[in-house]
């Protein structure tokens, strides 16, 4: 028997004052104050470390999450912002035999939910048999009529579920909510694990913690096996980068080697669902949906949805696609459903729910309404049709008989008037778990999110998950949206665990990528990312030339300065500020493009861009015109060069990289041709040619190559026609030629596409031109050709 903490030798100072509130279960300590054996190694380990060592270890986990770019989009009244993943470093540790019991209960629940779903979208026997009031189905916004009677091709409606579970004061587990619509969090659970394995790098490997990789592998195999004949793509369907969990969608797509698609990538064609790729339309067979059902198809579902794919429901009706979970599965999340599940389980399965859910009363029935009214002091009362978790308490909820915001009427009157719209749920007290606060462990309330997927072996529960930890003792602070934190969950086995590939540092996808073509939207974003970055580059170079001249000329403005200013103005830059706001906008566009292809663009690349944008913004606020700005712009240029190097040296040569490279080459060509049009024109003011050479980054080359002062021919030769000069127009067109033939369509084997033909023609024109005879009109024609090439590439690949 464990000794009570207070009597154990050398009670660790970090446990001083660890006192769970009375009447509450605690993960770390038993009711008698003794330590649970499963926590012993962790507590001993922490006790051996100095506060500095612990801080250093925790910092290691935070660093990992930052480097991995794990973020969460937080929505507030003022708008949305990205925030770092709020990790609570001490994991929740649960004994395996206890976990197995929990998992068994959840598997029963998953099977029940499948039966409920099949009935709601099929025979409707539950309502007919009096197990569920018609009101809760027919008035439920998540019950989607167009899906009634649509049989899922795989034979199952549900494939992935999450459960929010908590521990009651008596130590038993309780389901607080079912996440059936499009459960999020598997990716976060994985990232949490990566981070906690780093924090506890010298404890974790031998701590007999059940690994997560097997769960993901089984699910991935299952996804692929759902394709009849192994045909068609498997993809994750995301609402896009503005959703709160987009990071996770991109992360899981990368990790499992799945395509990441948005509805606009998809098209219903002849009853099948196709993805637009750079090689044309390709069939999609399995979609792991992360988008709420009603947005999926504006033709049959929410007609105002701008996210959806028209005709998607038709393809499901045709049995052409497997959707995980089936459209309409959000209906199972309805709070009021909880009130009826125990009875439904008994009726449909002939057995009781082994794992109870939070006690719930639908106030549309007289007895239940009376009960809730009589007991409202220990209830959470809120909208019956809400799909929010019980602890997501908003203005429309009364807790313990009080509203969050000033109320129009008493809770009693509210129940009497709007009974059918309301549920009462028991205000349960949750268990506490240790969180490290100011160097000491303190008890904080927690709930655990557990995931289950349907695999070849039936429902499989992830051995782990993540726990949400309350910021304070207030159980309502649990909602992450209001600033709680998140801890890993360790399921500890009595025997050594099987090691999968997931352990250790730097583990990436454990499966080979499924070959397939790049979605057109991803290619388009990478192409424009390349264009925006080079547009920034050109603007910064011109701006720097302008400010350098401002510094030397002082108040006596030289004509070439005005000329540069006019040239910038023609491109939409206002030089009233030392850093034009339009430049910051360009950074924003580039980051938006990169953000839309998080599954294909490196985290380092995105961070580099964000840092550059931040320093440009900083510069705009702090730096005065002239020398100071010129210097700061120089630093920015070096940063941009670093970004280019990163893209060139570190990115795999997949077709996405080729589109980014084409975008860069095209924009550099356009910018250079433009520069030459402006600065080599016969009426350009004195000093323009030198400015062109300087902006074109070719001062040294010019000196070495021509050993004369700049004249129009040397400048045109070097910046337009010299294939050895990486700044020249012909160099960019050469790059386009090379990259375009690398991604060239198979159908083009014998015949060039319009884009390819145009690139080749331009290249030949540049290669055969002589500098002396190239007019300003010719230069303008080169610029025009490049813009046309951009349109042709867009037509061919990107739309």
């Amino acid at each position: 028997m464990e000794k009570a903490i207070s009597r154990s030798v050398g009670k660790p100072p970090l446990l001083e004052g660890y006192r769970p509130p009375k009447g509450v279960a605690d993960e770390l300590l038993r009711a008698d104050g003794t330590l649970r054996p499963v926590w012993r190694p962790m507590i001993d380990y922490l006790a051996r470390q100095s506060p500095e060592e612990i801080a250093a270890k925790f910092a290691r986990g935070d660093q990992y999450l930052r480097d991995a770019g794990v973020y969460y989009r937080q929505y507030t009244a003022e708008g949305s912002s990205l925030r770092a993943w709020p990790m609570s470093h001490v994991p929740v540790i649960i004994d395996q035999s206890e976990w197995d019991n929990l998992a068994e209960g959840l598997v029963q629940r998953a099977e029940l939910l499948e039966q409920v779903m099949a009935d709601l979208y099929g025979a409707g026997e539950m309502v007919r048999g009096g197990l569920l009031p018609a009101h809760l189905v027919a008035r439920n916004p998540e019950w989607l009529r167009p899906l009634v009677g649509v049989q899922p091709r795989s034979g199952n409606y549900l494939h992935i579920l999450a459960f929010e579970v908590g521990r009651s004061p008596d130590g038993s587990w309780l389901v607080l909510g079912d996440r059936t619509q499009a459960p999020s969090g598997t990716g976060f659970a994985l990232e949490n694990r990566m981070a906690s394995a780093r924090v506890f790098h010298d404890l974790f490997p031998d701590a007999k913690v059940e690994r997560l990789a097997g769960f993901f592998r089984a699910f991935r195999d299952r996804l692929h096996s759902l394709r009849p004949g192994g045909e068609g793509r498997v993809a994750i369907l995301t609402p896009g980068q503005h959703t709160d969990t987009y990071f996770e969608h991109a992360y899981i797509a990368r990790y499992l080697g799945l395509l990441l698609l948005e509805c606009e990538d998809l098209k219903a064609v002849n009853g099948r669902l196709m993805v637009r790729t750079i090689e044309g339309l390709e069939p999609v067979s399995v979609l792991w949906r992360r988008l709420d059902s009603r947005f999926a198809d504006p033709l049959e579902l929410d007609e105002n949805s701008y996210l959806g794919t028209p005709g998607m429901v038709g393809t499901l009706r045709n049995g052409a696609v497997t959707m995980l979970n089936a459209l309409g599965s959000g209906v199972l999340e309805t709070r009021a459903m909880m009130a009826f599940l125990p009875r439904i389980c008994q009726a449909l399965r002939g057995e009781a729910l082994t794992l109870p859910n939070i006690a719930t009363w639908w106030c549309g029935q007289p007895n239940e309404q009376a009960y809730v009214t009589d007991n409202f002091a220990r209830m959470m009362i809120g909208p019956a049709m809400s799909t929010k978790l019980p602890f997501d308490i908003d203005a429309a909820t009364a807790l313990g008989g009080r509203f969050r915001s000033p109320a129009q009427m008493s809770v009693r009157d509210w129940l009497a008037t709007n009974g059918a719209d309301l549920v009462g749920q028991e205000a349960v007290t949750l268990s506490t778990t240790p969180a490290m606060i100011d160097g000491r462990l303190e008890p904080r309330p927690m709930v655990v999110r557990v995931f289950a997927v349907r695999t070849a072996q039936g429902w499989t529960v992830m051995p782990g998950g993540y726990a949400r930890i309350g910021r304070t003792d207030d159980p309502t602070a649990l909602a992450m949206q209001s600033g709680g934190s998140v801890a890993d969950v360790w399921v500890v086995s009595p025997t050594p665990v099987e090691h999968h590939t997931l352990t250790g540092a730097g583990s990436g996808p454990f499966v080979r990528q499924v070959p397939g073509h790049l979605p057109a939207r991803a290619a388009d974003n990478l192409f424009w990312l390349g264009r925006y970055v080079e547009r920034v580059n050109a603007a910064v170079r011109t701006l720097r030339a302008y400010h350098v001249r401002l510094e030397t000329s002082g108040d006596a403005q030289m004509p070439v300065q005005d000329h540069l200013a006019e040239m910038m103005a023609r491109q939409g830059f206002e030089l009233s500020a030392s850093v034009p706001s339009q430049l910051l906008d360009l950074f924003g566009h580039a980051i938006t493009c990169a953000g839309k292809v998080r599954d294909r663009f490196s985290d380092d690349g995105l961070h580099a861009l964000e840092e550059l944008a931040a320093s440009a913004g900083d510069m705009a606020r702090r730096v005065g015109p002239g020398a100071e700005t010129a210097r700061a712009l120089g630093a920015l240029l070096r940063g941009l060069a670093g970004f280019a190097g990163l893209a060139n040296d570190n990115m795999f040569r997949f077709s996405g990289w080729r589109f980014m490279t084409m975008g860069r080459a095209l924009e550099r060509g356009v910018q250079m041709a433009n520069l030459l049009v402006e600065l080599t024109a016969p009426d350009a003011p004195p000093g323009s040619l030198d400015a062109a050479i300087e902006i074109g980054d070719s001062v040294m080359t010019h000196r070495r190559r021509y050993s004369v002062e700049t004249n129009r021919s040397t400048v045109v030769d070097l910046l337009a026609l010299d294939p050895e000069n990486p700044s020249s127009v012909i160099f960019q067109v050469g790059l386009l030629l090379e990259q375009q033939s690398a991604v060239r369509h198979t159908r083009e084997a014998t015949q060039l596409s319009p884009a390819a033909r145009r690139i080749l023609r331009l290249h030949t024109a540049l290669a055969t031109a002589a500098a002396e005879t190239v007019t300003t009109a010719d230069l303008a024609a080169f610029r025009f050709d490049l813009m046309q090439i951009s349109d042709l590439l867009t037509d061919q690949y990107l739309s």
Binding site: V127, G130, R139, V269, N270, L299, E303, P310, G311
Partner: protein, 295 residues
């Protein structure tokens, strides 16, 4: 007495600049009902679609899903067919009184498409409008029969509204139409549905046709030159669904041919589409409902 009608409905879209690929859902084919039989019926599309799938929606309405892959400057949909309509005249009012109607609804343990449950709460186009609710409450009493209440509301709205096709379009909010007391059959029907639901009467939207030329000696009805809309109200176990035409202050009779049932216009729109077009477009409707001489 039954009447035979030859019906044609043509809906044409004309685009200034050719419109790209499109996907369309049609609900143009009349329903087969106890009092109505479709003898022949065909929905034709010009130009030919690249994909077509006929089916039924949740409420049992006939649907046609279409795709066009080539840019179009003109697109037309046409229903033509022969329909027999034979509505029995209304009998004694055995409908449930308003105060007890909700109990009748609750007693129906079924979520089939014809059950009143779907028609009680607010829907896509018919939200809760307090002014309409107050108006409906002022006109009715809890001890009124639900049939009487619906008829009262229908008659009152008919008197209240100016039929005015220029005042509203297909997207007009019922609250706005009610405030202005102007609109077409769609607006008046939406307002009546909002009113009925607010006093506890399950109510839905009916799209359909009206006989174009009235029988000798009878006035021409409003709404005969386009698709028409009216209201169905559920009046209790005994009476079930009754169809009211508030635009003409009458019960739907044999001159009313039902195309689709739904909660509101969003469920029954004859053409629902997602055409990607840059420029403006023009829509034309032609309806002809001609009684066939029983020769």
């Amino acid at each position: 007495m039954s009447t035979l009608y030859d019906i044609t409905l043509t809906i044409q879209y004309l685009y200034d600049s050719p419109a790209g690929s499109s996907r369309t859902l049609l609900r143009m084919m009349p329903r087969t009902l106890p009092h109505q039989r479709v003898i022949t019926g065909l929905v034709a599309v010009d130009p030919d679609p690249s994909y077509r799938q006929d089916g039924k929606d949740f409420f049992g309405n006939h649907t046609v899903e279409l795709a066009h892959d080539t840019p179009l400057s003109e697109l037309s949909f046409r229903f033509s067919g022969r329909v027999e309509s034979a509505r029995p005249p209304a009998g004694l009012d055995l409908s449930t009184v308003l105060a007890e109607l909700s109990r009748d609804v609750e007693e129906i343990a079924d979520i089939g498409p014809d059950t009143p449950h779907h028609f009680c709460a607010r829907s896509e186009r018919v939200r809760d409008v307090p002014e309409i609710a107050a108006y409906a409450r002022a006109l009715t009493r809890p001890d009124m029969s639900s049939f009487d209440a619906a008829q009262t509301l229908s008659t009152a709205l008919h008197a209240e509204f100016d039929f005015d096709p220029t005042a509203t379009d297909v997207t007009t909010d019922p609250a706005v139409a009610f405030r202005n007391r102007r609109g077409v059959c769609q607006d008046i029907s939406h307002v009546m549905i909002a009113g009925l639901r607010s006093i506890g009467v399950p109510a839905g939207y009916v799209s359909g046709f009206l006989r174009t030329v009235p029988p000798k000696g009878q006035p021409r009805l409003e709404g005969a030159d386009a698709m028409h809309a009216w209201v169905r109200a559920w009046c209790g176990h005994e009476t079930g669904w009754v169809e009211f035409d508030p635009t003409n202050a009458m019960l739907a009779g044999s001159d009313h041919v039902v195309v689709a049932y739904g909660r509101d216009y969003a469920d029954v729109a004859p053409v629902k589409g997602s055409l990607r077009s840059a420029g403006p477009h023009e829509t034309r409707h032609f309806v002809d409902v001609v009684p066939v001489d029983p020769a």
